[in-house]
């Protein structure tokens, strides 16, 4: 897996760009408390009315305060933290379920495959966004973890499908046949022949789930249906709307969370493209004559 990532890094500029940008945001999210604790002390970043409303940027509030009397820099950092956290948690859950279902489906075949594939396809065709909206409306006090799980429910089918397709083709690879005639058992074949070659697809499925979960999360929050007790970047977009930052001439209040999200999605997509390019030489510009 490490050598695979190393090769991607070397082969693709997109991958490099994505990794650099994403690492920057992850680091920012990790050290966020160190940055906002000096401003707000031990209070929850979501607590309103701590400072005055719309204080202009100063040494104490580098970006000023918002319409609820909170420090804007704190808003963004805390929002970034939760958004990434929800995205990754949902991604982990979704790919975990996806791998298990995909593997079982492809390797077992027969009725197991039919049943699992039907469930997977049903979840794919169900329009997940309205359902998420409905769930969000009836459960106002959603926590970070429960939010991630709900998001994961709708994004695992994609990775399950990818994994299933890959295992199906890999089952037929000549090296699997070679392992069979060399006396390798079924489990040895799954773990030593198939799984290592699947890593890139696992990583890609994971990245897709993360993006999917984050998009859904931002969407719900932005239209104001998310939990208001935790700050996310989506919520910040919603707030910015509500405060009417356009007429106030404070467009940056909206632009900062939007551009952060755009950059993160772009980074993950670039990483995915980079891996795809490396795996599928047809997409690659660098080819040599064989």
């Amino acid at each position: 897996m490490l050598s695979f990532l190393k090769n991607c890094w070397r082969a693709s500029g997109k991958f490099k760009f994505g990794v650099i940008v994403l690492t920057f945001f992850i680091l920012l999210a990790v050290v966020a408390p160190l940055l906002y604790r000096p401003i707000i002390g031990n209070l929850s970043p979501a607590r309103p009315g701590v400072f005055g409303r719309w204080i202009p940027p100063s040494a104490k509030h580098p970006l000023g305060t918002d319409g609820h009397g909170r420090d804007l820099l704190t808003d963004y950092l805390a929002g970034l933290r939760t958004t990434l956290y929800i995205g990754f948690l949902a991604g982990v859950i979704a790919s975990g379920v996806g791998i298990m279902v995909g593997f079982l489906s492809a390797y077992k075949g027969g009725w197991v495959d039919s049943v699992l594939l039907t469930i997977t396809n049903m979840l794919i065709v169900i329009p997940s966004y309205p359902i998420l909206v409905a769930i969000a409306m009836v459960t106002p006090e959603l926590g970070v973890a429960s939010m991630s799980i709900i998001l994961a429910i709708f994004s695992w089918p994609f990775s399950a499908r990818t994994i299933r397709a890959q295992v199906m083709t890999m089952k037929e690879r000549p090296y699997v046949e070679l392992a069979k005639v060399s006396g390798q058992g079924d489990w040895a074949i799954i773990f030593t022949e198939i799984l290592p070659n699947l890593t890139p697809y696992l990583l890609m499925g994971f990245a897709f789930s993360v993006v999917g979960a984050m998009v859904a999360e931002v969407g719900i929050e932005a239209i104001g249906l998310g939990p208001s007790n935790i700050i996310t970047l989506g919520l910040m977009i919603n707030f910015a709307n509500g405060w009417g930052v356009y007429s106030m001439g404070r467009l940056e209040v909206l632009l900062i969370p939007v551009s952060a999200l755009v950059l993160i999605f772009m980074a993950i997509t670039m990483i995915n493209r980079g891996m795809e390019e490396y795996l599928n030489p047809r997409l690659q510009k660098v080819t040599t004559e064989k």
Partner: protein, 357 residues
């Protein structure tokens, strides 16, 4: 061709109107992360009018890169490091005008392609669009590269389909309704539709049955003879060259090692690589003695061996072979070999390659 381009690339014929194409010291390299892969690395070649020229060599020798390169189809990371590929158009019985395909502006080379030089790529049956009827695919190609009227184009299309032995009804079909051999014929029909002077076919019959291969190759050859066009046929299969070619060139490690009339190549191969290659093809019938093939591995284009590139595998290697790259010399009339075993060019016969340059 615009007047300006004419003056830029206009060249007097070499004095011999029989010359169709002249490739001079052509180098096509690929940029890779581990340095330049010198896929084609100094090829000199003259293609005559109305001949079937076989381009032979094993995988990795650069034959496909060369074929695509002289069409101006080199794509990044491949690039033309140096050299010329001059295509001579005959303007009267005694004069021809040449233009360098490699320095020609993209728009002009696109016009050259189809109208003067047609290309049948590897796995050509996969180049047909699956959602378009055959007639539209051929007609579109004709319209794009000529000013033919609608009626004339249709008439020409049916003429070409007939030439490759296809029923006119094929025109209304979609590619999936045709067999592999029929699809390959469609691509040949499209290639000859504008009466090009040169067709470059790159392994057009790989993946086809031998029966189908024979039918298609014979048709291709008949068309080339009857339309008086030149055919450059690229394949690693020496037996196909024996069936098809008038002259053949053998490539090894990005260079031409032997260019000879095909009968002489097979009767008395001069270059040790050609000898090895021919001793690797079992024949049907005859004595069944052990054949040796060529020991060793083909070298990497990232790092060709010094001197003669064949020397690490050559059974007749000499001291000079390790140090000096042998030039391609005409050793008997019409036969060119790049090998230190044949050091002295013949004198008094046809002009040598060096003189022509």
């Amino acid at each position: 061709m615009s007047a300006q381009a004419m003056t830029q690339t206009k060249r007097q014929g070499t004095g011999d109107v029989q010359t169709l194409m002249e490739i001079k010291d052509l180098r096509i390299w690929y940029r890779t992360t581990r340095g330049n892969a010198k896929a084609v690395d100094g090829v000199d070649l003259i293609i005559q009018r109305n001949e079937v020229f076989g381009l032979a060599g094993e995988s990795g020798c650069g034959k496909t890169t060369l074929a695509r390169g002289i069409l101006g189809l080199t794509k990044l990371p491949g690039y033309v490091e140096s050299g010329e590929a001059i295509y001579y158009r005959r303007i009267s019985d005694s004069t021809s005008v040449g233009s360098d395909l490699l320095t020609m502006p993209a728009r002009e080379i696109r016009q050259m392609r189809w109208r003067h030089i047609a290309y049948i790529p590897q796995g050509a049956m996969n180049v047909l669009s699956p959602v378009t009827r055959i007639e539209k695919q051929i007609l579109d190609a004709i319209y794009e590269h000529s000013d033919m009227s609608k009626e004339a184009a249709r008439a020409r299309m049916f003429e070409c389909l007939e030439m490759v032995g296809l029923e006119p009804t094929v025109a209304r079909m979609y590619p999936h309704e045709l067999s592999g051999g029929m699809k390959q014929r469609v691509t040949i029909a499209a290639a000859v539709s504008l009466k090009p002077g040169l067709i470059i076919a790159d392994e057009p019959t790989t993946a086809l049955d031998v029966n189908v291969q024979q039918v298609i190759l014979q048709e291709l050859k008949d068309i080339a003879k009857s339309m008086e066009l030149t055919l450059i046929y690229v394949t690693h299969d020496m037996a196909v060259h024996a069936e098809m070619a008038d002259r053949m060139g053998i490539m090894y490690s990005g260079v031409m090692v032997e260019v000879s009339p095909v009968i002489e190549t097979f009767k008395e191969p001069l270059h040790p690589y050609t000898q090895g290659l021919l001793s690797s093809i079992p024949a049907i019938g005859g004595d069944r003695s052990r054949m040796m093939g060529i020991p060793g591995n083909a070298p990497s284009p990232l790092d060709w061996p010094s001197g003669c590139r064949f020397h690490p595998r050559c059974p007749k290697v000499m001291e000079i072979c390790r140090e000096q790259h042998p030039p391609l010399l005409e050793v008997t009339p019409g036969r060119l070999v790049a090998c230190h075993l044949y050091p002295t060019p013949i004198s008094g016969a046809a002009p040598t390659f060096e003189e022509l340059k």
